[in-house]
Symmetry: C2
DNA sequence: ATCAAATTAGGGTAAATACCCTATGTGATT
DNA sequence: AATCACATAGGGTATTTACCCTAATTTGAT
């Protein structure tokens, strides 16, 4: 039987080493190069033939979300499993709509990981039980702000980071040499785009999308 | 030469499996049971003799910070290496003052990990280069709110979570059947305890200490 | 039984945010 | 030339937060 060619994408070297050690001792799975962010992963996909991409969501330079989007466009046959260290409630729906084939939460075991890789390689989907649960809960309870396809401008991201760092509009204005009213405008636009209505919502978004180190 | 007995503490099963696979293939290191939170780890320490504890900071039930504090009190000979997935700026000083023997950031390699374990087992300290750098930067630039030995009450933690979820004082009051002025009192106390002065600071604390799933 | 901590709650005020609105300049695209 | 996205900025207002203060009640521990 042909080996499943797996590309590992994670900015945590220790996880690459760890999962690498796990998968290399598994028959039927061949681990290719590892990439430390989405951009690198896309470069590798241009060169190598990959069956399954195992990718973290939170990464610098290019996050897993954007990377998955591009991969599905350029390499529709390559399967993608997202491996998330947090449990991002609202993002899961977006990923599924995007066509991601699997989603594993942090408390995955070696067995589940191997199982998931084999399943998606065979054309199936694999979502851990916790994800499925959370999905239904999201559907039922929450107003589920999906915020699909939202794009923030550079200035907005810059200001979002400063808000998350605890600076007030006035302080941000001084820092960026603009009026605090302008900062307020950006803040309002951010909240409208992200469908939240206070600073807590903004920060939660910033965290989920890796704007905070 | 005697093997180094290592206890792994992490709530991410995949990391336990991964690092487990790494360390089991390393001569001179014997991996004991793994624990998924600080409380479990302390239970294991009561029973087994452990040379080095390798522990994540963000964990449910009992986080790495509190666990390390207790370990240093009850088992002063056991060495502790903190393994952090984020890069928490302000926490590092606190850990060092607490007597933690090593601190590794997420982008650690297998080599560095093994190196660190051997070094602290021999009575030394090991801090990754990035940590040292960040430490000096913290010392120079930031106001470095250390917040050492701060303890939050159950009610405070409950309210902190709700604030981080984006609820206003009024909404929290309705939820908990108390006056919004009481919520404000708790909010004020939280900010005083944590030495921050707005909701962003509170949320950042909540995240660093794993109060947010 | 007593004491300390936790939780409750309010008075008062200044600052900041949230949320409407309009409007201008700039640079890229068509 | 016209359009559009972006960044800029202000008017106005209601709400919320931040930060002082005091104080009563509850709860748990010695």
């Amino acid at each position: 039987m042909k080996e499943i060619r797996v590309l590992l994408v994670d900015d945590h070297q220790i996880i690459i080493d760890g999962i690498g050690a796990l998968l290399n001792s598994t028959d039927g799975i061949k681990l290719l190069n590892a990439a430390s962010n989405g951009k690198e992963a896309l470069e590798i996909l241009k060169i190598l033939s990959v069956d399954v991409v195992l990718m973290d969501i939170d990464m610098p330079i290019m996050n897993g979300l954007d990377a998955a989007k591009q991969m599905k466009r350029n390499h529709p046959d390559t399967k993608i499993i997202m491996l998330s260290m947090h449990s991002e409630q609202s993002m899961i729906r977006e990923l599924i709509q995007m066509g991601v084939d699997g989603y594993l939460l942090k408390n995955t075991t070696k067995e589940e990981l191997v199982n998931a890789i084999k399943k998606v390689n065979g054309g199936g989907q694999y979502f851990s039980a916790e994800v499925t649960l959370r999905l239904m809960e999201t559907q039922a309870e929450r107003a589920q702000h999906q915020v699909e396809g939202v794009e923030l401008t550079n200035r907005e991201i810059e200001i979002l980071k400063l808000i998350a760092d605890g600076y007030t509009n006035k302080e941000i204005g001084v820092k960026l040499f603009i009026s605090h009213r302008t900062v307020d405008s950006h803040r309002t636009n951010l909240m409208k785009k992200l469908e939240v209505n206070n600073v807590a919502g903004l920060i939660n978004y910033a965290i989920r999308h890796g704007f905070l180190t």
